[in-house]
């Protein structure tokens, strides 16, 4: 349900859901049919109550490479502080899906989460601990990052560890061999798509089985067409989805869909990313941290990107989508002081360096973090984010979780199935948006 850390490339049978996850979710589901309230009380036991030498950490870094990154971070902390960190890892997508229940039940002291509206939502529900006092001692973060960590009430609830840009990724070696140039405008992009199709490849690798990856393409086209302000306002429920501006986004997208990999709703993004790696697809709209996992070792150098082409001259390529991942402390933390000590470390350059030693698809947010080991790819990602006029998070981080998961996921999937029926689709999204945004939280 979120963009971010993926599975290690699965070249054969690929499913991001383990059987245990399904069983747990099934059990939760069965319980939910019965009584939602009771379940909240019986979360999993995270142990370690009141022991100042142990702090628990709920992690959604379940995929091999990010998981190794978190393990390196926690090892570094345990060595320097003498405190034991107990890591409870859950499968990435199901961590997000169960977050409400998790935070209301028996959460870990510190947990991994995302900046933006998605953080503010849970902070506003009183499920996260105020860490403004930790922030007063932090260095190396820009005001923009602090703002991304601040809730609606002006207090901080989040520390970032890295962000990563969404853009159009491709293999330079393939493009050089074919003589293709990164397009700068929509017209150039369309022309290139035709050329690529003529060469027997899919122009865009595309997957939306998990529901969220297609949101990234919508964000790009909307911000290029209507600008950042309109996009954020739309995400906040302040614009109408039947606005001709929104219709134009879907029409542009529909004109490009024939050049996207077919069968997207049955494919996970890992397989789409692999098709770029396997030279079956020419490019892919995704996050750098995701596709980089398909390009390991010697292939890592053969990955480059360009910003999504300009559609409207008024907005150019100003906006960059760069989701921020990081950590929060749960309100129910058993060991608040130890949790604050840990989260302070997580915001330090040392933690970011430890993470980068294992996972180099992302950009550390702390300016004190070492960039000496950066690849050319990482430097380019960093410069791209630094040069942004505006930075968005991602659809499911910029809007309400219920709207993203219950309205936009099915709607984008039906758009992919039936791109011709834009009017009725938008009418339906609009009706549901009005209803959801009318309820208060």
């Amino acid at each position: 349900m979120t963009q971010s850390t993926p599975d290690q490339p699965l070249r054969l049978a690929s499913s991001t859901v383990s059987r245990r996850t399904v069983l747990r979710n099934t059990a939760l589901g069965a319980g939910a049919l019965a009584i939602p309230g009771v379940l909240a009380a019986c979360g999993k036991d995270s142990g370690s109550s009141g022991n100042s030498k142990t702090v628990t950490f709920g992690s959604n870094y379940s995929d091999a490479i990010p998981k190794a990154g978190i393990a390196a971070v926690m090892d570094a902390y345990q060595k320097s502080s003498g405190v034991t960190v107990k890591i409870n890892t859950q499968e990435h997508n199901s961590f997000q899906e169960n977050i409400s229940r998790y935070l209301k039940g028996n959460p870990d002291d510190v947990f991994s989460w995302f900046a933006g509206n998605r953080m503010k939502f849970f902070a506003a529900q009183g499920l996260a601990a105020d860490i403004s006092d930790v922030w007063s001692g932090l260095t190396g973060f820009s005001d923009a990052l602090k703002k991304a960590a601040t809730g609606d009430d002006g207090k901080q609830y989040f520390v970032p560890i890295y962000n990563y840009p969404w853009a159009v990724f491709y293999r330079p070696s393939v493009w050089q061999a074919k003589g293709w140039q990164p397009p700068k405008t929509l017209d150039e992009l369309t022309a290139l798509c035709k050329t690529i199709k003529g060469a027997g490849m899919d122009a865009f690798a595309f997957a939306d089985k998990d529901g969220w990856p297609a949101m990234g393409t919508f964000d790009q086209i909307n911000m290029r067409t209507n600008g950042y302000d309109f996009h954020i306002s739309l995400m906040a429920g302040k614009e109408s989805w039947t606005d001709p501006k929104v219709k134009q986004v879907f029409e542009t997208w529909a004109s490009l869909l024939p050049y996207h990999q077919q069968g997207a709703n049955g494919r996970i993004w890992q397989d789409a990313a692999n098709s770029v790696y396997q030279k079956k697809s020419a490019m892919m709209v995704c996050g750098s941290g995701q596709i980089a996992q398909s390009f390991q070792g010697a292939d890592a150098a053969d990955l480059d990107f360009f910003p999504y082409p300009m559609i409207n001259t008024e907005f150019g390529q100003d906006a960059v989508e760069a989701p921020i991942d990081g950590f929060m402390i749960s309100k129910k933390a058993k060991n608040l002081e130890a949790a604050k000590a840990l989260i302070k470390f997580l915001a330090s350059p040392d933690a970011e360096n430890a993470y980068q030693s294992k996972d180099n698809g992302n950009i550390p947010t702390n300016s004190g973090a070492s960039t000496s080991n950066f690849s050319a790819f990482q430097k380019k990602c960093q410069a791209y984010i630094a040069g942004a006029k505006q930075i968005s998070q991602f659809m499911d981080r910029d809007t309400r979780p219920d709207f993203a998961s219950q309205v936009m996921i099915p709607s984008l999937q039906s758009f992919i199935n039936k791109p011709s029926d834009i009017d009725s689709l938008l009418k339906n999204i609009d009706a549901q948006a009005k209803s959801i945004f009318a309820t208060d939280n």
Partner: protein, 313 residues
């Protein structure tokens, strides 16, 4: 008051008291305590876990409860939204009905047919039984994973078998066909289940009935439909109930395949997605749960009236 235990064993002085008590009630105090525990505990659990939760769900379905703030009554608002603008709902209803129809019209008769064939003591019957029964020991979630290996557009076995590697069929991603692909997998499992139930039933049919029918000149078809099948009535009822339950509670297989989206919506999935998911629309999800409950009650009531009417006869 004296101990009834003592009075039961040593009747001497309190015998008349005990006898009077026994006339009032045939139960000793110990019996009453045991009965109270044996009946009371299940009743309490039943009230707490079944009635309590059901009524809570019904109550919540009329609110906008989101798990955080205190619930506000919104009347029939949730129900109205579900049937008007919540697009996945009608797809889920259609899929649940398809599920019921496929299991009932196709899978169950096929299971019966297999049972009848295997009951004929053909060679290797045990082997066939094992093969058909095998899927039943797998959980539907596992069947879902197997289905993905078979149906996947990019690496699935079925497209290779059909020779459609250049232009593969998107069995799981195309919402007009993925429900059928999944139903085939679910039916594959259901057939084995029904088969084993009927096989057990057929083994218990008195061979004398068959002989009598043959002597009376009935052919094989008549023997089966007029004589054998009616004697299988208890099995028929079990199979019917299982089929309905399987169709209404279907969840894990579609959840394993694509979280029950994009053509694989089911009522159970929508309930879970709304309540358990990050969305936490508990009031809304409860309303879907109530709709599922009412649908199930329809089947339960129809079934019970049928049973009671037949028993009265």
């Amino acid at each position: 008051m004296t101990s009834t235990q003592v009075s039961a064993q040593a009747p001497a002085p309190q015998a008349s008291v005990a006898r009077r008590r026994r006339r009032l009630s045939r139960f000793t105090r110990r019996d009453i305590i045991i009965l109270a525990v044996l009946i009371g505990l299940p009743v309490l659990l039943d009230i707490a876990l079944i009635w309590g939760t059901t009524l809570t769900s019904i109550g919540l379905s009329f609110t906008d409860y989101n798990g955080f703030s205190s619930p506000q009554l919104v009347g029939l608002h949730n129900y109205h939204e579900i049937v008007t603008i919540y697009e996945p709902f009608w797809r889920a209803v259609r899929n649940n009905l398809l599920w019921l129809a496929t299991l009932g019209v196709f899978a169950t008769p096929l299971g019966l047919l297999l049972a009848v064939l295997l009951d004929k003591r053909i060679r290797f019957t045990r082997v066939y039984q094992s093969i058909f029964y095998m899927p039943v020991v797998l959980s539907l979630a596992v069947v879902g994973f197997i289905a993905q290996l078979v149906y996947s557009r990019d690496y699935g076995a079925l497209n290779s078998l059909l020779g459609r590697t250049a232009d593969p069929i998107d069995f799981l991603g195309d919402p007009s066909i993925n429900i059928w692909a999944i139903l085939a997998a679910a039916a594959w499992r259901h057939v084995g289940y029904v088969m084993i139930l009927y096989l057990a039933g057929l083994k218990s049919v008195d061979p004398a009935l068959k002989e009598a029918a043959t002597i009376d000149g009935a052919n094989e078809r008549q023997t089966f439909f007029r004589v054998i099948f009616p004697t299988l009535r208890p099995i028929n009822i079990i199979v019917l109930v299982i089929t309905v339950i399987e169709a209404l509670r279907a969840f894990d297989i579609v959840y394993a395949v694509n979280s029950g989206r994009n053509g694989l919506e089911l009522l159970s999935v929508l309930v879970t997605a709304n309540i358990v998911g990050e969305a936490s629309r508990i009031g809304f999800g409860s309303a879907i749960a109530v709709i599922l409950l009412v649908t199930s009650l329809g089947f339960v009531i129809a079934y019970l009236t049928q049973i009671l009417r037949e028993d009265r006869r």
